[in-house]
Amino acid sequence: MLKQHPTARFILQRAGWYLLTFLVAVTINFFLPRLGTSNPVDIILAKSTGGLSAQAAREKEESYLKEFGLVKLDGHGNILRDTTIRMAKVWDASKQVSVSKPDTLIKPIKASSLDQFFTYVKMSLSGDLGTSFQKYPKKVLDVIVQAVPWTIALQLPTIVFGWIVGNVLGALAAYRRGLFDRVFFPVALLVSSIPFFVFGMLLVYYFAVVLGWFPAMGGYADEIIPSFSFELFGSVAYHYVLPFFSIFLILAGGQAIGMRSMGIYELGTDYIKYAKWLGIKESRVLIYLFRNAMLPQLTGLALSLGTMIGGALITEMIFSYPGLGMAMLSAIQNNDYPMIQGVTLIITTCVLIANFTVDIMIGFLDPRVKAGLQMGGN
C-alpha cells in the first residue's frame, strides 16, 4: 500500500529512523553516567543514609531504591523481597527486653543493570524522568517544566531576530561586495568566532560592573515575588538585555557569513546573470537570489531552534538566568544524576525533533527531493 504513497512512506521511514536514534540516545543517556568511577547508584545510597536512625535510614534507602528503579518490583509497585524469613532482635520497650521477631523489612532484591535499563526506558517513554536527587522529592520533569519557559523566552526571540538580521546583512554583503563587504566580512567573522560565554562575560563586566547600566545576574530582581505584575515584567525586561545581546550578535554574525557565501555562490549562477542581462530591477533580482539561497539557511534556523534548549546552557550560567542551564549547573555541582540525565534527555529530544522536522520540510520544499519522491524513489 505504501508503494502508492511515496510521501507517506518517506515520512514513516524518517520517523522510524528517528525513533531508532532516540532509543540509542536513551541508551547512551542511561549507560554513560554509570561508566565512570563514581556511579550514581553508589552516590544515591551513600547520601540517603546519613544522620538518620537505623530504621529511618533503611526506609529512606528503600524508598530511594524504589524511586530510582534499583530494586525489583511486583505488579503492584511493591518491592520484591528475599522470601527467606530472618529473625531480628527488636527492643521491646514495655517489657524492657529484646525479643526475636520476624524482620519486617527483609532485604529487597536488587535489579540487575539490564532490568534497571528497561525500567528507565519505560519511564522515559512515559515522560517520567525520575526524581531529583538534590531537590528530593521534587520530580525532575517538574524542575525542567519550571525552567524551560525562561530558556525559551531567552532563546526564541534571540534566534529569530539574529537569524533575520544576519541573513539580510549577509545577502547585502554578497550583493554589494566592495567596501561594505570588505569591512563587514572580517567584522562578522571576528564576532562569530567569539565564543558565547566569552562575549557574555565581557558584556557583564563592562555594562553591568563597570558602567552599572544593567544588572549582572538573575532573571528578575530578587525582591520581587514572581507574579504577573507590571513590576515583574519591567524587571524581567531589564535583566533580559545583556543575555539577549550576548547571543544575538554572535548568532547574527554567523548567519551573515553563511548567507554571504550562499549569496556569492548564487550570484555566479546563470539565472542571475540572465536576469541581470534582461535588465530586471535590482530589488527583484535580490529577491530571487534571496529565495534560492534561503533553503540551507532555513534548515539552519530549524536546527538552531532545536538546539535552543541546550544552546544557552553556558550563557544562562554566566548570567545566573533561571533557565535550564542553571538547573543543570546546580545538578552538576550536587551530583544530581537524575536531573543531569533528565536535562540531557530533553536537549537530545528537542534536537531530534528539529532534525526530523527539517528532513520532512526539505522533502516538501526542495524541488529536487520532491521530484525524487514523486518518481517513487526513496
Binding site: Y18, L20, T21, V24, A25, I28, N29, L32, P33, R34, L35, G36, T37, S38, N39, R177, P186, L189, L190, S192, S193, I194, P195, F197, V198, M201, L202, V204, Y205, V209, V210, A216, M217, S261, I264, Y265, G268, T307, G310, L313, I314, M317, I318, M328, L329, I332, Q333, N335, Y337, I340, Q341, T344, I347, T348, V351, L352, N355
Partner: protein, 277 residues
C-alpha cells in the same frame, strides 16, 4: 607550492597563520624565558603591575604562569581532539564513500546517528561520571570521539564523488587494490579538504574544552583556559570587577579560534575560486 604561494597572497591567511603559530611558539617556549610556577606568590587577587604583570588569582598564584599552562593545555586538547576526529572521520568517510554498498550504508547510518545526538551532551554525561579521574587527555579523547562525525560526512561525500572518475577506473584495471587506490588516487585529492576539516576540528576542540570547563566539568589534573574562567566565575571575580581574572583568558581563546577561522576561510577562498574576486 603554488598553493602555498596563493595562500600567502591572502592577507586573511597570513594574519590567521601568524597568530596561530605565534600562540604555539609562546606555548612551547614561554617556560624557557619565564619561571612558570603554581605556588602562592602574592596576596589574593593582587592587581596587575604589583610585581606581577597580570596580577594574581584567588589563591595568590601568578596569572602569567596560569595562562601559559592554560594555553598549553588548550592547544594540547585542540590538537588531540582534532587529530582523533579528523583521522577517524577521514578513515571512515573515505572508505565508506569509496566502497559503497552495505559497508557504506552502515557507516553512513552510524555517522548520521551520532551527528544528531548532541556531542556536548555526551561530553557532559561522560565528564560527570568521571568525578575523580577526569584528566585533560581524557577530555581530549572524548571530544575527538564525539566530533568525528562531521569530518566523516564531509569526506564521505567527496570520496563518493571521486570514485567514478576515469583515473580510478584506470587504477583498477591496473590491478590496484582498494588500499592502494585510496592512498594513491583518492587521498591526494582530498588532502586540502581534510586539512581544512582538521583546522575546524582544532577550533571546536578548544571551544569544547573551554565550555565543559566553564560548567565545572573540566580537567582536574591541570590548568586550562576554561578552568581559569570557571575559577574566576565561581569565586565571584566577574561581579567584583577583577578583570584580570578573566579578560586575558577570554582574549586568548577568542584569538586562537579567530586565527583558525581565518585560516579556514582563506583556504576556502583559494580552493573555491568563485569566492575569490
Amino acid at each position: 607550492m603554488k598553493l602555498l604561494k596563493n595562500l600567502l597572497k591572502s592577507p586573511m591567511f597570513v594574519i590567521g597563520a601568524s597568530l596561530f603559530f605565534g600562540t604555539i611558539l609562546v606555548a612551547l617556549f614561554a617556560p624557557l624565558f619565564y619561571s612558570v610556577t603554581l605556588d602562592r606568590v602574592g596576596e589574593q587577587y593582587a592587581a596587575p603591575g604589583t610585581g606581577h604583570w597580570l596580577g594574581t588569582d584567588n589563591l595568590g598564584r601568578d596569572y602569567i604562569s596560569l595562562l601559559i599552562m592554560g594555553l598549553r593545555s588548550s592547544l594540547y586538547v585542540g590538537f588531540l581532539a582534532g587529530i582523533i576526529a579528523t583521522a577517524l572521520g577521514t578513515l571512515l568517510g573515505i572508505y565508506g564513500g569509496f566502497k559503497g554498498g552495505w559497508i557504506d550504508d552502515i557507516l553512513n547510518m552510524l555517522t548520521n546517528l551520532f551527528i544528531v545526538i548532541p556531542s556536548f551532551v555526551v561530553l557532559i554525561l561522560i565528564s560527570a561520571s568521571f568525578k575523580d579521574g577526569r584528566s585533560l587527555t581524557l577530555i581530549g579523547l572524548i571530544i575527538g570521539a564525539t566530533t568525528w562525525t562531521w569530518s566523516a560526512r564531509a569526506v564521505r561525500a567527496q570520496s563518493s564523488a571521486l570514485k567514478s572518475r576515469d583515473h580510478i577506473w584506470l587504477a583498477r584495471i591496473n590491478g590496484d587494490g582498494t588500499l592502494a587506490i585510496l592512498v594513491k588516487h583518492i587521498l591526494p585529492y582530498l588532502l586540502s579538504y581534510v586539512f581544512m576539516v582538521f583546522i575546524l576540528q582544532i577550533a571546536s576542540g578548544i571551544l569544547s574544552e573551554a565550555a565543559i570547563s566553564m560548567i565545572g566539568l573540566g580537567p582536574l589534573d591541570t590548568q586550562s583556559l576554561g578552568v581559569i574562567l570557571n575559577d574566576a566565575k565561581s569565586n565571584g571575580a566577574l561581579g567584583d570587577g577583577v578583570w584580570w581574572a578573566f579578560i586575558p583568558s577570554t582574549v586568548l581563546i577568542t584569538m586562537i579560534v579567530f586565527a583558525l577561522y581565518l585560516i579556514n576561510t582563506s583556504m576556502e577562498g583559494v580552493f573555491n575560486p568563485r569566492l575569490r574576486k
